[in-house]
Amino acid sequence: MKIAVLAKEIPDSDIVDAFAWAGRLQIDPTIKAIRREGIALGMNAYDEQAIEAAMRLRDAGVKGTISVLSVGGTAPDKLFQRAFALGADEGYHLADPAFDEADSVGVAHILAAAIRHVGGADLVLCGRQGSDYDQGIVGPTVAALMDIPCISIARDVKAVSEKVVRVIRVIPDGEETVDVELPAVVTISNELGTPRYPPAMALFAARRKRATTLTAKEIGVDPARVSVSGQRVRRVDMYIPELKGKCEFLDGGGPREVAAKLAQRLREDGLI
């Protein structure tokens, strides 16, 4: 079974959050994006879990290569090191000035073309969304472009045969189990659990592996097709919403007194 995992480099969302509340987050007015100085970059956590999902299939006896594909980014070596350490066999870095203008749809076009170029995939895994723009577009769009099904927000993927996987999806108030014929795209959610910590050997070996860089021409994707979506949907502004914050702290005395005060206040407000 050929498994392709789609991975994205993003700024650490916890740090972005902390910067925003500390008033330190800045927006670059020319590109309408956050300034990344001082913010660590790394693989989107959901994508790491997608690699872990692939590794669990391997643990269960599924044979075949696990390739990681990633578009652009500023520190691709770091991303691929991480991918190799987590267990990926091959890495493909899709890099071309023509990709600079790609939005999520454009990225999906690049990835679909790249998957084709590397010989196709039986199972395409990726995170349920990027923790930067939170859009969740890439997985389903790649599926639509390849004309295959997409099963989203999975917490478990098991092989039923070489041709079928059983996926447990997280749905509101429960779970759904589906059998899907391959090829298919499955997007992974955090309920899958934490990726394994790479053994020292794997970390060491990862350092010697390199990803293959591929351009628009090599994968045969039309640069115009890649950028047109981003031109139709243009980001014209980005801002940090202000929080007024007018919290009334209840104090005076110990926990008992404070508890009594709060209960009384909520009762007066008709809330309890």
Binding site: D17, P149, G174, T177, V258, D269, I272
Partner: protein, 331 residues
């Protein structure tokens, strides 16, 4: 005449989903009540056309209905085909999709089929001073907002989060009869590759409908302390919720998770106990009427959202507070 806005009217179990009226309200808001400008795509198993009349009171004038046995299953591959057929016939300037379980995947599928662009998580839709359509989307979990202008030719697909758009009600004067146009979903020869094995959902009251929610976070320190949250919720007649951090730890269930990737709730009272107030958590509860925060760090972001704050150890506070609430309720 200006072009129409098409909303995707999802039906489940023979009923329109709640978000349909919200989408209609958003669309009506943008067209400013111009008659004949809001249309809908409705797809489902044979018999679905009967639901079209429920759209008229919301200001929808034409329903493009696709019926096919395969549309009984809520799969994006099939419903996107049906919606694409509707869009091709209606030729709208914008397509709005509600981000239900189906809509979330269907919107990008539909955009790919139509060879157009897509934006998800929209919270606002408006026309700017140059007449362009502007869409606001929270990004980075909600700590940042991005504003986009979107193409109306070809029509962009815009996904809306449940609960954040306008709460749609039937509009006065919108009750006149609309028109039903049947469309071919183009599913002849379509073979489904996905087989449902099992769907298990918990019955009972839903977090989204609770008037009072008491949520616990990592500040509880230990799984066993979540019992305080459950106790308190029971005493005040509410439901227990949780941050993702403790759902991941197994202290609470996934159905209790509030936030960006959990439930979107908007109760009258939301109590956040031992929760830091990360933007991804607040994305699910910041529209609550009154937020109460209990946290031992004065700098915790949660206090910026709170009306009332208690600074201190939640484990010291909770037993007393449960006791006080019990007394109030009894008295």
């Amino acid at each position: 005449m200006s072009k129409s806005i098409l909303i995707v009217a999802e039906a489940e179990g023979g009923r329109l989903v709640r978000m349909v009226s919200d989408l209609a309200a958003v669309a009506c808001g943008l067209v400013g009540g111009a008659a004949g400008s809001v249309v809908a795509a409705l797809s489902g198993p044979p018999g679905t056309a009967g639901l079209a009349k429920e759209l008229w009171p919301h200001g929808v004038s034409v329903a493009y209905v696709a019926e096919h046995p395969l549309l009984g299953e809520l799969r994006p591959e099939t419903h996107a085909r049906a919606a694409a057929a509707a869009v091709q016939q209606a030729g709208p300037s914008l397509v709005l999709v509600g981000q239900t379980l189906l809509g979330r995947d269907m919107a990008p599928y539909l955009a790919a089929r139509l060879n157009t662009s897509v934006l998800m998580n929209a919270t606002e839709l408006r026309r700017n001073s140059s007449g362009e359509v502007e869409v606001v989307c929270p990004v980075y979990g909600g700590s940042v907002r991005a504003v986009y202008t979107v193409s109306e030719s070809p029509a962009t697909v815009v996904g809306f989060q449940p609960g954040v758009a306008v709460r749609g009600e039937a509009v006065a004067g919108g009750a006149r009869q609309g028109q039903v146009v049947s469309v071919d979903p183009g599913l002849g020869g379509f073979q489904s590759k996905v087989k449902l094995v099992n769907r298990a959902t918990t019955a009972g009251p839903r977090l989204e409908e609770a008037r009072v929610i008491v949520s616990g976070g990592k500040g509880l320190g230990d799984k066993k302390n979540y019992a305080y949250i459950e106790d308190l919720a029971k005493v005040v007649g509410g439901m227990p919720g949780a941050s993702r951090a403790i759902v991941d730890l197994g202290w609470a269930t996934r159905a209790q998770q509030v936030g960006l990737t959990g439930k979107r709730v908007s109760p009258d009272l939301y109590m956040a106990i031992g929760i830091s107030g990360a933007s991804q958590h607040m994305a699910g509860c910041s529209t609550s009427k009154v937020i109460v925060a209990v946290n031992r760090e004065r700098d915790a972001v949660i206090f910026k959202y709170a009306r009332y704050g208690v600074l201190g150890d939640c484990l010291e506070f909770l037993p007393s507070f449960i006791e006080e609430c019990r007394k109030l309720k009894a008295g």
